[in-house]
């Protein structure tokens, strides 16, 4: 029997009667991490890692019942033993291990293997069946160390500084921004400015003791001080807004794994692209699947065909997760 099946509301575990990252309200929701496409308000109870809990609360509000658990702590849901294990995606991100009778399934959630100073490193969890994300399911995507990218960002700022321009680096508010801040902090980058949307998650990271570069709100109306030649992190939806215009003449860039391909860099409309991702690259996907020892692999998110085919050639039982249509 499959311990995890697709359901219109998300991934469902029948013997445990709970959902993983449901898209709508359910009775019991196990949350892998606090990105908006993984947490929806309206559920009766939320279970997530203890460091994920403040971020989930920020996302859905404090009125919901959120139960934080420690990594590795086993708890009972229905007939299953469930535990959460670090996924290395963002702070508090978790894989979900489900044990029922003799079978162990692991749902990876989003994960990466590259070192990241802003979150817990990925933990390999042995299992029979591994449900893996495949956001970047092609050998074209192979990441370089975050530190190298941070050095490139600083070189970019240096160049723009000579011309008195600000650099706006567009990146997602939760996770990517803090990872960049943490990498930049290690390189003594000085003060990095933030768009308002980045502030709350960054403060949450700071309160949980993640060392990061000094940060400050850009365009703080109360201070009205103009910045010049500085690095500003902002969410992609601030592109082309009045806020952007208020920073004067700017250079823009986007930080994402998608920036690996020249076509994406050309078409996204940013001056340049930095290739940095919080998802597993091709080699990490293969390595992780090998290390879990899983005999069956179910791939979800993104274009999984190439990965599934490759795994089959290696003699594994591999399939794409069938999407359940909303009813």
């Amino acid at each position: 029997m499959d311990l995890v099946i697709p359901h219109p509301r998300g991934l469902y575990c029948p013997p445990g009667d709970f959902f993983i990252d449901p898209r709508r309200g359910v009775q019991t929701a196990v949350i892998t991490h606090a990105h908006s496409d993984h947490v929806a308000p309206g559920s009766g109870g939320y279970i997530c890692s203890s460091r994920c809990a403040p971020l989930v609360r920020q996302r859905i509000g404090a009125r919901f019942n959120i139960r934080p658990v420690e990594y590795g702590e086993k708890f009972r849901l229905g007939g299953c033993w469930v535990s959460l294990h670090p996924a290395g995606h963002i702070l508090g991100s978790a894989q979900v291990r489900i044990e029922w009778r003799d079978e162990v399934w692991v749902v990876s959630g989003d994960y990466k293997r590259d070192p990241d100073p802003s979150c817990e490193p990925f933990e390999v969890v042995a299992c029979d069946v591994f449900i893996t994300e495949t956001t970047f399911g092609s050998p074209l995507y192979q990441w370089r160390p975050g530190e190298e990218i941070a050095r490139e960002v600083l070189a970019w700022r240096g160049q723009a500084r000579e011309c008195g321009r600000n650099c706006i680096l567009y990146c997602y508010s939760l996770g990517k921004a803090q990872r960049l801040l943490a990498e930049l902090g290690r390189l003594d980058a000085g003060v990095v400015y933030l768009h308002g949307a980045h502030l709350a998650p960054t403060i949450a990271y700071h309160e949980m003791g993640i060392p990061m570069a000094k940060f400050q709100l850009a365009g703080d109306a109360s201070k009205r001080e103009l910045i010049q030649g500085e690095l500003v992190l902002a969410p992609p939806n601030a592109r082309g807004t009045k806020w952007e215009a208020s920073l004067g003449e700017c250079e823009t860039a986007f930080a994402s794994g998608w920036m690996a391909l020249a076509n994406a860099r050309r078409n996204k409309g940013y001056d340049r692209g930095f290739v940095i991702s919080d998802h597993a690259d091709w080699n990490s996907l293969l390595r992780t699947i090998r290390e879990t020892g899983a005999r069956r692999v179910i791939a979800m998110h993104g274009d999984a065909a190439a990965l599934v085919q490759t795994l089959r050639e290696q003699g594994l039982q591999a399939e794409e997760l069938a999407e359940a249509r909303a009813v």
């Binding site: 092609s138 050998p139 074209l140 192979q142 011309c163 082309g240 952007e244 250079e251 823009t252 690996a260 391909l261 020249a262 076509n263 860099r265 050309r266 078409n267 996204k268 409309g269 940013y270 001056d271 340049r272 692209g273 065909a305 190439a306 085919q309 490759t310 050639e313």
Partner: protein, 510 residues
């Protein structure tokens, strides 16, 4: 090589022309002369011929990347460029040699490879990945496969070269027009402030006529002024030096090849003479590139309409009385043929001039020029009243670096709308703001930076002229169009392409 890699990366997503020029200049400043010359060669579109057929690379590249052939092909499908796939996926071995200068690749490595039989070239190319840093692989692969594209507009290149080399534009354009092969010596010669061609290509500064309305001069004594017809065409200088004739296109900042007929006509002029004027039907002879095909000169009827003498026998005439210069022009040039003086209007008094002004468009001219007979010849221009058409707004683009949006307007051709003009408009204040709101709510589709909108709004568009434009669907376009006002009529009643075609110039106005 590093400078080229940086340049490719910098230009990739950059649209702002000023910033592109900055990036080009930065790349050249960071490079040695030979490397700079090769970068210029690539930027001017002189790609090396293809060494390797990308198809031949497939098996070896897949093996080098440790991938099954189907997986490698899947990557190519996603990326669209085998050179990029190889660069992203190949496993690099230890012992990368680091920086190999661009000129060494172009002058040594590629020729060595070209000497190999085609079958061995692919394996040689795959050897490179051991010797070149990963960031260089993409460009090396593209150069070898003949898929290297680095786009920079001609004026961007010229501006950046001027910044780096400090050489005036005409001299630079002249030197680039000659046959050249990239080398350190060529680069040094390109930036040489002295040299035999400095005097040859010197362009005297000219004043431009001030646009006024005829009424503005009503207080003046009409007898002090000489009126001329303003021909259609582009401003140019005709330069007679060292027994040859050169044409400098002032707007494009480039040289034009002088057709034989004009060359023959100009032979009567004394050496070291520069005329200011307009080239008529100049499109046929553009551009001044040796490797582009153009119509033979005798099939075109290019004319140079001389308006003024800037230098005569090596002497600066710009401050001499205008009447003298004009007399000199009349005496030296015939009244017909490829080289003629600007047609004077034998009118006396403002009333007659006003009549002439009204007729200018019908006679095939842009308007009137008025020159003060005495002194240096103060110069005013009264253009014919603008043409006004009702055009439908179909799309717009707003680039982040530009203060003005570019609106595209169309007219009816049968049942469809065909674009005929683009006009700038600020969307930030006043009427523009209201329009911006409308554009947002009527947005239909996006094509890169261009957004199409519902074809509902009609504007009054004023323009100087209608000219043939073979590359436009409509076959014509409006010259210097600007938005006058919103027209409160439905889109179905906007102008038709036939209405515009009626204003197309007839050939050889007389």
């Amino acid at each position: 090589m590093d400078a080229l890699v940086q340049l490719v990366r910098a230009l990739e997503g950059l649209g702002d022309p000023a910033r592109r020029i900055e990036a080009l200049a930065r790349a050249w400043r960071a490079s040695a002369p030979a490397c700079s010359a090769w970068m210029l060669s690539l930027l001017t579109g002189r790609r090396p011929r293809r060494l390797v057929n990308p198809e031949d690379l497939l098996p070896e590249s897949a093996r080098a990347a440790g991938m099954a052939p189907w997986l490698f092909e899947d990557c190519i499908r996603r990326s669209g460029d085998i050179a990029e796939v190889i660069a992203l996926t190949c496993r690099q071995e230890a012992g990368v040699t680091g920086e190999i200068p661009l000129e060494r690749w172009m002058e040594n490595e590629f020729p060595i490879m070209r000497a190999l039989p085609p079958g061995e070239r692919a394996s040689r190319l795959m050897e490179w990945r051991r010797r070149a840093p990963r960031e260089h692989l993409l460009i090396l692969n593209q150069l070898a496969c003949g898929t290297f594209r680095l786009a920079a507009a001609r004026n961007e290149l010229a501006a950046a070269l001027r910044q780096v080399l400090g050489v005036p534009a005409p001299l630079l354009a002249w030197r680039l027009m000659q046959d050249w092969t990239p080398s350190a010596d060529f680069w040094r010669a390109l930036g040489d402030p002295a040299g035999g061609d400095v005097e040859l290509t010197r362009i005297p500064e000219t004043s431009v006529p001030m646009e006024i309305r005829l009424n503005d001069l009503a207080e003046e004594n009409a007898d002090n002024w000489q009126a001329f017809w303003v021909p259609r065409g582009e401003s140019a200088q005709l330069i007679r030096r060292r027994g040859g004739t050169l044409l400098w296109r002032m707007e494009e900042q480039d040289w034009m090849i002088c057709p034989d007929e004009l060359e023959a006509a100009a032979r009567n002029l004394p050496d070291r003479t520069v005329l200011l004027g307009v080239v008529e039907n100049g499109e046929a002879a553009k551009p001044a590139r040796k490797n582009t095909s153009r119509k033979p000169a005798d099939e075109t009827d290019i004319r140079f309409i001389a308006m003024d003498i800037l230098e005569w026998k090596g002497e600066d005439t710009r401050l001499s009385p205008f009447a003298d210069r004009r007399m000199q022009l009349d005496q030296s040039l015939g009244g017909a043929g490829a080289l003629t003086p600007q047609a004077a209007i034998p009118a006396s008094g403002w009333n007659e001039l006003t009549m002439a002004h009204r007729q200018s468009r019908a006679r095939g001219y842009r308007g009137l020029d008025l020159r003060r007979r005495q002194d240096g010849g103060e110069w005013f221009r009264c253009l014919a009243d603008p043409l006004v058409f009702h055009c439908v707004l179909t799309s717009y683009r707003q680039e982040s670096w530009s203060e003005e949006a570019e609106l595209t307007f169309a007219v009816w051709d049968g049942r469809g709308l065909v674009p005929v003009a683009a006009a700038p408009m600020r969307l930030e204040d006043g009427d523009g703001q209201a329009l911006a709101g409308w554009l947002n709510s009527h947005f239909r589709e996006r094509f890169g930076p261009v957004r199409t909108v519902d074809a509902q709004l009609v504007f009054e568009l004023a323009c100087e002229d209608v000219r043939p434009a073979p590359r436009r669907k409509a076959g014509l376009e409006l010259v210097h169009a600007r938005v006058v006002a919103r027209a409160a009529i439905p889109a179905s009643r906007a102008s038709r392409v036939e209405d515009l075609a009626g204003f197309l110039p007839r050939r050889s106005p007389q």
